[in-house]
Amino acid sequence: MLTLSDKILIGVLLLLSSLSFLALAAFRGPGQTVVVEQDGKVMARRSIADEDTLRIEGPLGVTTIEIAEGKARVLDAPCPHQLCVKTGAILKAGAMVVCVPNRVVVRIEGHPKDGVDAVTR
């Protein structure tokens, strides 16, 4: 089914796209806003430059989020695996910490124009 040129094409394109993923991660801009969501609803928006501690109520209990020194992280969470705490601090645009059991998402937004403006069908 696949000719040699097909395989070379697929290989080159896969290499190109993974390289561009890496390049983009390296040049990703600094974050601007920390957005905290609970169950899909935005609970809080803070500038990343703020110093603040947020307490978000979820189905399992209270998740504590700390914003300090231009970074955001989950300090304490009631979930069993503590993955969100172990993720550590995030600072770059597009980065996020997710706690699935307590349905809390902390993400960092960059330039306000980023995001989806239109969807084609």
């Binding site: 089914m1 040129s5 094409l9 561009s20 983009l24 084609t120």
Partner: protein, 192 residues
């Protein structure tokens, strides 16, 4: 009475098809391309009904018809099939002349141009799967450039480039395999 109906090359009669073919040597091509265009249109509308996990991940099933037309009837046929699909498809789903229509038609035309050129330049080099990946890739690249020019003059849109490159390989592969299977089926049907 019986012999009259038998000899009459009217609608439904045995002779109709042969008569049609000899009178219009291009008739078969026309009918097949019209069929492919409608298949592409149906696939396009059907695909729009499937919920998508990510807004930028679209398989591009309509391109199966374009690929078949390209391999069976050349670049002219593929152009007709693509043009009809884009025009009628946008009327059917109600995006005609909207910004989305610009992106979708631009993507389709870029895809056709690249597929036709590559197919013509290396007729034996790439299989239908390879041509499909070229097409998907051109489609995504054109959409990204058009979106940048028309919709969002923001550099943030280039953040989607890696996603588009990667999804182009995946969706082009899926569409190409579908076209490959169809071509194999058609070949078998012709041999019998």
């Amino acid at each position: 009475m019986r012999s009259r109906t038998k000899n009459c090359p009217g609608p439904g009669g045995n002779l109709t098809f042969e008569f049609w073919n000899s009178a219009f040597p291009k008739g078969r091509r026309l009918v097949h391309l019209a069929l492919l265009a409608s298949v592409g249109l149906i696939l396009f509308v059907f695909e729009g009904l499937i919920p998508r996990p990510l807004p930028w991940l679209k398989i591009g099933l309509g391109n199966v018809a374009t690929l078949l037309a390209l391999f069976l009837y050349g670049s002219g046929g593929a152009f007709a099939v693509t043009g009809i699909r884009v025009f009628l498809g946008s009327l059917l789903i109600g995006t005609f002349l909207s910004p989305g229509f610009l992106l979708s038609s631009g993507g389709a035309m870029a895809s056709w141009t690249v597929m036709a050129l590559v197919h013509r330049a290396w007729p034996r080099g790439f299989s239908v799967v390879g041509i499909s990946i070229w097409g998907a890739w051109a489609h995504n690249a054109a959409q990204l450039i058009l979106a940048h020019l028309v919709l969002v003059r923001s550099r943030g849109i280039w953040a989607l480039l890696p996603v588009f490159l990667l999804s182009g390989v995946a969706t082009g592969f899926v569409t190409g395999v579908a076209a490959y299977w169809t071509l194999e089926r058609l070949k078998k049907g012709n041999e019998q």
